[in-house]
Symmetry: C2
Subunit: 259 residues, 2 copies
């Protein structure tokens, strides 16, 4: 039987340790060479993942684990830990301190705990099904009350990849052209947590994966937000892509999607 407070304390310790290493790697060098840049990410990914897997195994020896690099590790219980050791890799490479470590706990196919940690800002978000609310650095967070698309800050999950941008635009041009401000930002977990704290209002991404969005989606839902599959059907964290809102913009979104 898993005790949630027990997990929180331990996961916080794991994230503190792994986050310290990640933040140090991010800023280790004054000048970078091409080799540094490539090694930086693969080193960071592997080292952080190794630390987390090792400690999660000790915390919960029977559970299965899914981690971005290591893949699926089978277990003997109904629980599965889903881990993204470095969500926001492109930002990490380009020197943008907008990345995180994301850990979710799944029970019988449902996410029951979510932890997201930005080690540069030392922002620690978490939520659990039992708790029913979402916490950032000890304080409860809530989504914005933005109801009009013309007031909305929207994040789209794209980099400078024209096919991806065109795909998003063809399906969401009303949101692209009609929002107050839109930004392309890679890092699903932080994009979801920033809606959860009312900083932005909406996030649309066809490429996000389970390990990047599972924890953040629970945190957003328990802060008053809503999440859908990319095709706006009922949310399943195992699906690819996500549409997320503050919960108030949903009527607009239903009209906005062009498929």
């Amino acid at each position: 039987m898993i005790n949630i407070n027990h997990n929180l304390k331990h996961i916080k310790k794991i994230l503190d340790r792994a986050g310290e290493i990640l933040a140090t790697k991010f800023n280790k060098r004054i000048v970078y060479t091409e080799k540094d840049r490539l090694d930086l990410v693969s080193d960071a990914d592997h080292e952080i993942e190794g630390i987390i897997l090792n400690r999660i195994r000790k915390l919960d020896p029977d559970a299965a684990i899914y981690s971005e690099e290591a893949g699926s590790l089978p277990g003997d219980s109904e629980y599965r830990w889903i881990i993204d050791p470095l969500d926001g890799t492109a930002n990490f490479i380009f020197g943008v301190p907008y990345f995180n470590i994301s850990i979710a706990l799944e029970h019988k196919g449902k996410i029951i705990e979510g932890y997201v940690y930005n080690p540069v800002m030392r922002d620690f978000f978490y939520s659990t099904e039992k708790l029913g609310k979402s916490i950032l650095n000890g304080a409860e967070i809530q989504v914005s009350g933005t109801t009009e698309i013309t007031d909305a800050l929207i994040v789209f999950g794209f980099s400078a990849h024209m096919e991806n941008i065109k795909k998003l635009y063809s399906q969401w041009r009303t949101a692209f052209d009609g929002c107050k401000k839109g930004l392309g930002l890679l890092s699903p977990a932080l994009n979801l947590c920033n809606i959860a704290r009312g900083r932005t209002d909406c996030y649309i991404d066809f490429g996000s994966n389970m390990e990047g969005h599972a924890a953040g989606a629970l945190i957003l839902k328990n802060a008053g937000g809503a999440v859908y599959n990319y095709d706006t059907t009922e949310w399943e964290h195992t699906s690819k892509g996500i549409v997320a809102t503050n919960g108030c913009l949903d009527p607009f979104l239903r009209k906005a999607s062009h498929k």
Copy 2:
């Protein structure tokens, strides 16, 4: 007569003070309302600008000043201070800690000193014409040696604004489609400084302004990089837009621009 070491010491103090306020504002609230979000930027911009203008006036009472919010303030000397109190406003609003304060000193139409400070990372970049090199947190920085476009990390200055993306793409599709990785990032000064330290290789933006790119361009040039007007003609910091490289990718860029 201006003494460069004298300026450095004072500008560093001004940036420390203004940066502390900016970083605190960025993280002040756990939860944001729409009003908070709007006030956040206008408050931050004005307060930071006020502090900087006040102190620059004391440091150099005769010089002219150009600042993003206050506009042009005339002076009686051959010097002009060019100030961007918050470069990377969209990132500041969206909760992305990739913004900075940028200060440049112009003498007879030429930039002779540049200072860029990211108060969240506490990264302080500077260069002066006299010094002939560029410094980050006390250490000299150098551009990457990337020569092939297929190895290059390229930053494009766009948000989720389709007309802007299309314009960049129509003119730079070879770079968009051919680079190793491309990212749309708003914050000209940091985009230039990240090339200067070898973190990225190239930056292309038709919308950057003097107050955002003047200091960063000097820092990049003195770290071994190259800057051009957006139309690839000889660099003038008063022009709108910029094309910047590590100095090795220029032959490619001359072929890559489609006009």
